[in-house]
């Protein structure tokens, strides 16, 4: 089954329009929630039943997250959507914003109703101008139709949504860095605890979810938590958007059931380009350790299957690499990325990502030393678990994965001062 949830309007002409969304049951869930006001606890239970887990990459159960905020707590509360999509390989939220922005709006309004918030912010990365304009257009449509703003659908419930545009910083995808950024500061992560549910935006209780998570909520409520759960597999309910890129014939986003064999997903993406051999796959965005091609062909696209191979499903960004690629070079580029994007707050990450890059860089240039592989392991181990946020781990994990599965390529580079696969 494909395109059941976030992409359910994708086959329509100009699917981002309100009328198109409504033709597929859009805003039915909201009308039901607010019509004969539903018990917020029942909505949370439905989400828990659905098995929906955070689609930004962490995979935390969405229903459980929603239960952390006390609806009756007085004072301002906020809903924040994380559309700061920046994990290399990930491009799904961009398409939700471009092709089905109303699903996100409806999800955010329902979230506001459940936790008792009246304002929501959607943090869209600064480069996403087209998606931002599409989202703004949808907000206007929703306001004009009485679906957003004061007294929504005559229910007495007020909720409004504002876009906040980023300006180029991967770290702002980290939830507390994102909140700092909305407050007009550098995007440097906060210590947790306290968690955003208690002390979030402007120091107030805040529910922060990924775009895909929030956009999945309306259809889950419309068709039931069990319907969604049964589309997937154990511990990985529902459908998921997989962004497939790299050396494939038809890269793109595919909304399919959790647990689909990787083999089938690869087929949907047209298979490996030029009929080459599959060498390795980064299964969940560049922070997830690489999985060798042969092993990957035996795995299914769900949290447990990928974790069983020592990697992570993450954001569902699948980067496919064929056998013409040099893994030293791939790791060099990834190490450069984390070095470039480290916010500089924690010493192990600020300094360690530079060490990782410089050492892989010299190996790639044929200037590596025999002790460099141990050095890489050592530096990675000294970053992991020693930083405020997960960027440190994200920088360290791919190194360990590459050295575990493709060690001989690194050794060849060091010994022969050139590339094993002849990539250059």
């Amino acid at each position: 089954m494909a395109n059941e949830c976030c992409f359910r309007t994708l086959d329509l002409d100009r699917p981002w329009l309100l009328e198109q969304y409504r033709s597929r049951g859009g805003y039915d869930a909201l009308a039901r929630v607010l019509g004969d006001p539903m018990d917020p606890a029942a909505i949370i239970d439905e989400l828990k039943t659905s098995g929906l887990r955070g689609r930004g990459g962490a995979g935390f159960p969405t229903g459980v997250k929603w239960s952390f905020i006390r609806r009756d707590e007085p004072g301002d509360k906020y809903i924040v959507c994380n559309s700061d999509e920046g994990e290399p390989g990930t491009f799904k939220d961009r398409d939700i914003l471009r092709y089905n922005p109303h699903a996100l709006i409806e999800g955010m309004i329902i979230a506001g109703y459940v936790v008792g918030a009246n304002v929501g912010y959607n943090y869209i990365r600064g480069e996403f101008w087209e998606p931002y304009e599409r989202f703004e257009g949808a907000l206007e449509e929703a306001r004009a139709a009485g679906l957003l703003g004061k007294d929504i659908l005559g229910s007495g419930f007020d909720f409004d949504i504002h876009s906040h545009l980023g300006a180029g910083a991967y770290i702002c995808g980290e939830e507390t860095a994102l909140l700092e950024s909305i407050e007009g500061k550098k995007g440097q992560p906060r210590f947790k605890p306290p968690f955003p549910a208690m002390f979030g935006l402007y120091g107030r209780p805040t529910l922060i979810n990924n775009t895909e998570s929030l956009a999945s909520v309306p259809e889950i409520l419309r068709r039931g938590g069990e319907w969604f759960r049964d589309l997937g597999v154990k511990n990985s309910g529902g459908t998921k958007l997989f962004s497939v890129s790299g050396n494939v014939n038809r890269p793109g986003n595919f909304e399919v059931s959790m647990g689909i064999p990787f083999r089938e997903l690869l087929e949907m993406a047209g298979g490996v380009k030029d009929g080459r051999r599959l060498k390795g796959v980064i299964p969940g965005g560049s922070s997830s350790p690489v999985v060798p091609g042969d092993l990957m062909m035996e795995l299914n696209m769900d949290y447990d299957s990928i974790a069983g191979a020592g990697s992570m499903l993450g954001s569902g960004a699948v980067i496919v690499m064929d056998d013409s690629n040099c893994m030293v070079r791939v790791l060099e580029r990834m190490a450069y990325f984390y070095h470039e994007e480290s916010c500089g707050q924690c010493t192990p990450c600020r300094e360690g990502t530079g060490w990782l890059y410089r050492v892989v860089h010299r190996i790639e240039r044929g200037e590596g030393r025999p002790e460099d592989l141990d050095l890489l392991d050592d530096v990675a181990a000294r970053i992991q678990g020693r930083t405020i946020c997960a960027l440190g781990d994200a920088a360290a994990l791919p190194v360990a994965g590459m050295l575990r599965h493709f060690r001989e390529e690194f050794e060849y580079h060091i010994d022969h001062k050139r590339c094993m696969v002849g990539a250059r």
Partner: protein, 176 residues
């Protein structure tokens, strides 16, 4: 549990905000200020910097940043912090067209190296440089979140996907 959490305090003589920018720019910034709680005008600093940069040929000067600090009731250094932290702000003059080429993994697997090489040769400048005639700035950027169309370049507010040197040429030929 209680944490100190309030907007940053500006210690300076009050200024006449209406004298700071043109009415057009003020209106643009005010549209963003209105999204946030009244005491958190500083939340509009990112939008403010973007708007000022767009009106100033693509880069930010210190006087502009100081004026924005005054306009949003925040310390000047807090504006500098933001302007230097995020990659989309330029603190030096840039070319009329800023070519932002992604070279991250998915783009690299699809030939972004060839694009960079081609651009460096055609423009006679390296990554990070600006052409002598002030027309182009060539910039390497991190993942643009459009890997399905790799290799990708951002030019102004628009993305160009599935690029080849030939397509790049036709895009550049069409620019002033």
């Amino acid at each position: 549990m209680s944490f100190k959490h309030s907007p940053m305090v500006r210690v300076a003589d009050p200024v006449d905000k209406e004298a700071l920018f043109t009415p057009e720019i003020r209106a643009e910034i005010d549209r963003w200020v209105a999204k946030y709680p009244p005491e958190w005008r500083q939340s509009a600093v990112m939008a403010g910097l973007r708007i000022l940069q767009d009106h100033n040929g693509g880069w930010l000067t210190q006087p502009l940043m100081d004026d924005l600090a005054a306009y949003l009731d925040m310390p000047e250094v807090a504006v500098y912090e933001v302007a230097t932290f995020y990659s989309m702000y330029s603190l030096e003059p840039v070319g009329r067209h800023k070519l932002c080429v992604c070279t991250n993994v998915s783009c690299m697997l699809n030939g972004s190296d060839r694009l960079v090489e081609h651009l460096e040769k055609r423009l006679g400048t390296r990554l990070g440089g600006t052409t002598e005639d002030g027309r182009f700035t060539l910039k390497e950027v991190e993942c643009l979140g459009a890997c399905g169309g790799a290799p990708v370049m951002q030019l102004g507010r628009q993305y160009y996907e599935n690029l080849t040197p030939e397509i790049l040429d036709s895009i550049l030929d069409g620019l002033e």
